[in-house]
């Protein structure tokens, strides 16, 4: 088994005549914590969708955990933690039921839960310290707890790769800190964590790798080497005021 979790080779994606990703290549190794940064509309979401197999590139090749994206979906290799505003928090569903949705890929066509499913869900909820909240309706949680529930769903799914889209948006400093701790502990336990973030300030402390995206991956590598003033200002068209670089 290679140590590469995700590999994109010369991937291009357009929606109609709008180009979202152009001739993009990137290789992300297992057991890494990668921050994906770039301006809005620069292709971060498309990159995630390609990895999840939701968007089929017009050209190029995508390999996820050694499989093509369709097979990777069947194995549940990749889990996605949605942005807060993508979720209907009034939905009549409990924390436990959301995490159980992590199991649907492996269940029969009626999606009935087995004893094994319940074990996975309980373990996942315990791991993110949300087991005491399992019967709560999902809207009755704080911002940080909501994120933990979806991380638990990813764990229940048995995913090796966690994609998180703007996980820190709207979180207070304490919740952000404890979510980061959780994600780092997951990485140390063998998961590959990839997050799209606008939070450039905390990035050097959390991510060991950084990918800069501007219609393609313009740079990717260890944070120290890639998170530099030149490269980051190139990504953001030079609009940087508040970031201090070493």
């Amino acid at each position: 088994m290679s140590n590469i979790a995700i590999s994109l080779k010369n991937v291009s994606v357009s929606y109609g005549d709008k180009e979202a990703l152009r001739d993009t290549s990137i290789e992300i190794p297992y057991h890494t914590f990668t921050g994906v940064i770039g301006m809005n509309g620069a292709g971060k979401s498309t990159l995630f969708k390609v990895i999840m197999g939701l968007v089929t590139p017009q050209t190029g090749k995508v390999i996820v955990c050694g499989d093509d994206t369709k097979t990777a979906q069947k194995h549940g290799h990749v889990a996605y933690v949605p942005q807060t505003e993508q979720v209907d928090w009034d939905f009549p569903i409990s924390v436990y039921e959301v995490v159980m949705m992590g199991r649907i890929g492996t269940q029969n066509i009626f999606k009935t839960s087995t004893a094994v499913d319940h074990e996975f869900v309980t373990n996942a909820l315990t791991q993110v310290r949300m087991i005491d909240f399992k019967d709560r309706q999902i809207g009755e949680l704080s911002g940080g707890q909501k994120k933990r529930v979806f991380v638990a769903r990813a764990l229940a799914q048995g995913a090796d790769i966690l994609l998180l889209d703007e996980p820190f948006a709207g979180l207070d400093a304490t919740s952000e800190h404890s979510l980061i701790e959780l994600l780092i502990s997951l990485k140390e336990n063998g998961k590959t964590v990839i997050l799209a973030t606008h939070d450039l300030l905390s990035l050097p402390d959390t991510c060991d790798e950084v990918a800069l995206v501007k219609y393609r991956v313009i740079a990717h590598g260890p944070t120290k080497e890639v998170f530099t003033k030149e490269l980051v200002s190139q990504t953001f068209d030079g609009l940087l005021h508040h970031i201090k670089f070493d």
Partner: protein
């Protein structure tokens, strides 16, 4: 004893027996779908489909095929047309729906004015539960019974589809198929319910019970149960009201449903106000 007599007496007539059975089946099916529809945010789509089937009903009448079949064909035409225009123009979805369904509804009105008598028009637009034919009653009961069974059997799939389609797709569920399967079930339900409440009001059957239930619970299985209860009760009240007082069935059913929604909403507001007051004093 009076109440039992009140309930049983009309049932000795075959037409009333049929009406009650159809009312219950329609009530159950619409209620189940309404829970998914309002959570998915598809209420307007249901409205669009229900209006768009009119030309199908009229053409079916002309050709002599079952109403339901003609309606179903036009339901599908409207869904495909809405989807196609939306993804191939910059017009927003609600506007596209508005254009498609009014155009088809207007076509239906034109056809009706040339071909069908005004009595039949009233039946199509507002329903005629007590006058339902044996054939239609059987058709409705079997078709909608099947829809209810399918929705219940696959409720967890539809719930994931409503809550997080992206997740469903990312673990390999055939989300496009589920999407169209749900639309087909919706179209069948609408066409099957027309006889009961008519084209204009069928959308109420597909929005109100689920909404009332949504106010009352945070638990999806309970939501399904409350919606069915509310919906079947309204349907029965409608059937009996038109038997005893000779008022329009469809109108009564939908009005009772609306009244139940308003009562629940009003009651909850009052409770909230009361608890605020006790906290202040």
């Amino acid at each position: 004893m009076f109440i039992i007599e009140f309930i049983l007496e009309p049932l000795q007539y075959a037409f009333m027996m049929k009406a009650v059975i159809v009312a219950v089946v329609v009530g159950v099916t619409c209620a189940l779908l309404s829970c998914f529809l309002i959570l998915k945010g598809w209420s307007l789509l249901g409205d669009a489909i229900s209006h768009a089937v009119l030309p199908g009903v009229v053409l079916a009448y002309m050709v002599g095929i079952p109403f339901g079949l003609g309606a179903f064909i036009f339901a599908m035409i409207s869904v495909v047309l809405i989807g196609y225009i939306k993804s191939n123009s910059k017009i927003k979805e609600d506007a596209v729906m508005g254009i498609v369904f009014t155009t088809l509804f207007a076509l239906g009105l034109m056809l009706i004015s040339k071909i069908v008598s005004s009595v039949d028009l009233t039946h199509v637009l507002f329903g005629e539960l007590l006058g339902i034919s044996n054939e239609s009653a059987w058709y409705t009961a079997i078709i909608l019974g099947t829809v209810s069974a399918v929705v219940l059997i696959f409720r967890r799939v539809f719930m994931v589809f409503a809550f997080d389609p992206m997740h469903a797709q990312s673990v390999g569920l055939p989300i496009t198929f589920i999407h169209y399967a749900f639309l087909v079930l919706l179209a069948i339900t609408i066409t099957g319910s027309i006889q009961t409440v008519g084209i204009i009001l069928v959308i109420a059957m597909l929005i109100t019970p689920g909404s009332t239930a949504f106010l009352l619970t945070k638990h999806f299985p309970t939501m399904l149960q409350i919606a069915v209860l509310v919906s079947v009760a309204s349907s029965l009240i409608g059937a009996y009201a038109s038997y005893y007082f000779d008022v329009a069935t469809g109108g009564t059913i939908v009005f009772v449903q609306g009244l139940m929604f308003m009562s629940v909403f009003g009651y909850q507001k009052l409770v909230k106000l009361a608890s605020k007051k006790t906290r202040l004093t």
